[in-house]
């Protein structure tokens, strides 16, 4: 630990903390002199002017170390200390309390009985970042990089290969320390081992990349849960990254955290405009890029990719949903904050503005889902169906729960193998010939995830196609979000 990090010991006796810029401190300056004259063992710390208050032999605390480490919120603060430990504290000027604390009566003749103090410089919002770095910066283990005076900060981060192609917020110590306030976890706590380099990812490294992505501290727990989920053998971010297919991690958020951090589950839910939606997904991808070492053209071999590989994160609209949240359907307690990761491509729209009964709508959705990746390829890929509120209303009115909707779609996607085998329909692509006599379903059991989200107007839903599923590739993976 550096000297700045060490908590200075308080001297025994009476301790006062003051600043010249505070009228109440000016007011009590004669009282402090009176205490010294009365023989009280008094030490005065001064935050701004080392000469203030005259006649009290003040100790310079312009570094604010004493004030910061001893949680001085107000000046003047008067403390009584014995054996280095604080026994009593009073803030501002309050004759009775000052007399009680010092054991000297008749203090401050002619002064009002009480006068509130002023804010301590150690809690000045303008200094908060600088002081946090000064006094807690040594908690951070990351290498410090000093950018030259003539170096443009934004360009410097591009030049070092640390961005996803868009500008990032420079991760200064102050910003990273502020980000870490979003979690109770220690900075050196290892969250996961990130592919492809199999590098340990600490809470601190996640925080650094979350700063770069533009996250607020309150988003950090969501990012941490997403990183943890991504780096499991189950989700297999290595394969999701390395594949030639266009997928990336899609994050679905459930639980009260969605509203607490201001995520958007409504109009333009999968699009631009909401900071939480956009930066959480981006932070995960920056962790994989910067800590894991997964970069396009290197281990990332996507033939096309998709714009969602910059960031793809959205919450379910639980409040407007006819169904229990996705997280509850996946076994989590109602009210739990949960991320579910899915290896997904970009979304595509399903238009059906005519169906008013659930059978017709299920048929529409099924026929659109059948074309996923290829109309003749089945069972190998999962999908998310983002059901828009106006489509969900049709199911709600008919009393169809998640199970009924999924069963109806599966029923409509049960296909004779003869239609799917290689060569059928004049198309070489398809399932192996020996499956001609079989009956196959487009999706494996559990391979279709329903999520309710979107704007209130528009009889549309959206499909997000997946990637090689199951033990071969990736499983949708959920993790609870904890602070």
């Amino acid at each position: 630990m550096s000297a700045a990090t060490l908590r200075p010991t308080l001297p025994d006796g009476v301790v006062a903390v003051v600043k010249r810029g505070c009228p109440t401190c000016e007011l009590v300056a004669p009282v402090l002199r009176q205490l010294r004259e009365a023989g009280v063992p008094l030490t005065v710390y001064t935050q701004d002017d080392p000469a203030f208050p005259e006649g009290t032999d003040p100790v310079d605390d312009t570094s604010l170390a004493m004030s910061w480490h001893h949680d001085i919120d107000t000046v003047p603060t008067l403390l009584r200390v014995f054996g280095g430990a604080e026994e009593a504290r009073t803030e501002g000027w309050h004759r009775q309390r000052w007399e009680g604390l010092t054991g000297v009566s008749g203090l401050g003749e002619g002064l009002p009985e009480t006068r509130p103090g002023c804010g301590s410089l150690s809690v000045d919002p303008n200094l908060a970042g600088e002081l946090a770095v000064r006094f807690t910066g040594s908690r951070l283990r990351s290498r410090r990089i000093e950018l030259a005076a003539l170096e443009d900060e934004m360009e410097a981060l591009f030049d070092r290969g640390w961005t996803d192609g868009l500008p990032v917020v420079p991760p200064t110590e102050a910003r990273v320390l502020r980000m870490l306030e979003g979690t109770t976890r220690e900075p050196d706590d290892v969250v996961a081992v990130a592919p492809p380099d199999l590098a340990p990812v600490t809470v601190e490294k996640v925080a650094v990349n979350a700063v770069m992505a533009g996250c607020k501290p309150e988003y950090l727990p969501v990012v941490l849960a997403a990183v943890e989920a991504a780096c499991t053998d189950e989700f297999n971010i290595h394969g999701v990254l390395a594949t030639t297919m266009p997928v990336g991690p899609v994050i679905i958020v459930n639980g009260p955290v969605r509203r607490r951090i201001g995520m958007n589950a409504g109009v333009n839910v999968l699009g631009q405009g909401n900071r939480a939606n956009l930066t959480i997904g981006r932070a995960l991808q920056l962790v994989i890029r910067n800590v894991g070492g997964g970069r396009p053209g290197e281990v990332d071999r996507a033939a096309h990719g998709n714009p969602g590989k910059l960031s793809f994160c959205f919450p379910e609209d639980e409040e407007g949903s006819p169904w229990e949240p996705l997280s509850v359907a996946r076994g989590f307690a109602p009210g739990a904050d949960v991320v579910t990761l899915f290896p997904g491509e970009g979304p595509r729209c399903v238009v059906d503005q005519a169906s008013r009964d659930p059978e017709s709508l299920a048929s529409s959705l099924a026929s659109a889902l059948r074309t996923l990746h290829h109309p003749k390829l089945v069972l190998g890929f999962d999908a998310i169906l983002v059901v828009g509120p106006e489509h969900a209303r049709v199911f709600r009115d008919a009393g169809w729960g998640r199970a009924e909707v999924l069963a109806a779609i599966h029923e409509r996607l049960t296909i004779p193998g003869s239609e799917l085998v290689r060569g059928a329909g004049g198309i070489a692509e398809g399932v192996p010939e020996h499956l001609a006599a079989a009956t196959l379903t487009k999706f494996r059991p559990g391979g279709l995830l329903l999520v309710h989200a979107g704007g209130g107007a528009g009889l549309f839903s959206a499909i997000i196609g997946g990637w090689a599923n199951g033990a071969v590739g990736s499983q949708p993976t959920s993790r609870e979000i904890t602070r």
Partner: protein
């Protein structure tokens, strides 16, 4: 001047010299690693025929799935049993 924190893992990659290529495969043990991509076995079957015909001993290995790195045990097995390894990527 701005001080920023390194967002990377801060690891330096160890570089290792490659082994010298054998001048002949005769008498060598050649490992053929099937990464479990469809039809990779077709390619490796043909390679095995060719290798055996030049006097190599062939051992076949298979990754559980092409989407994940080879398990540590499998890598160890290959490194201790083979002089040379050929990995097939096919579709």
């Amino acid at each position: 001047m701005t001080t920023i924190l390194d967002p990377t893992s801060e690891r330096t990659v160890a570089t290792r010299e490659r082994l010298a290529r054998p001048s002949s495969l005769e008498g060598k043990v050649v490992g053929l690693l099937d990464i479990s991509k469809p039809r990779g076995d077709v390619f490796l079957d043909r390679l095995e025929q060719r290798l055996v015909s030049v006097g190599a001993t062939v051992r076949r290995f298979k990754k559980p799935t092409f989407t994940k790195p080879a398990p540590v045990d499998l890598r160890h097995e290959i490194s201790t049993q083979c002089d040379v390894v050929i990995e097939a990527l096919a579709d």
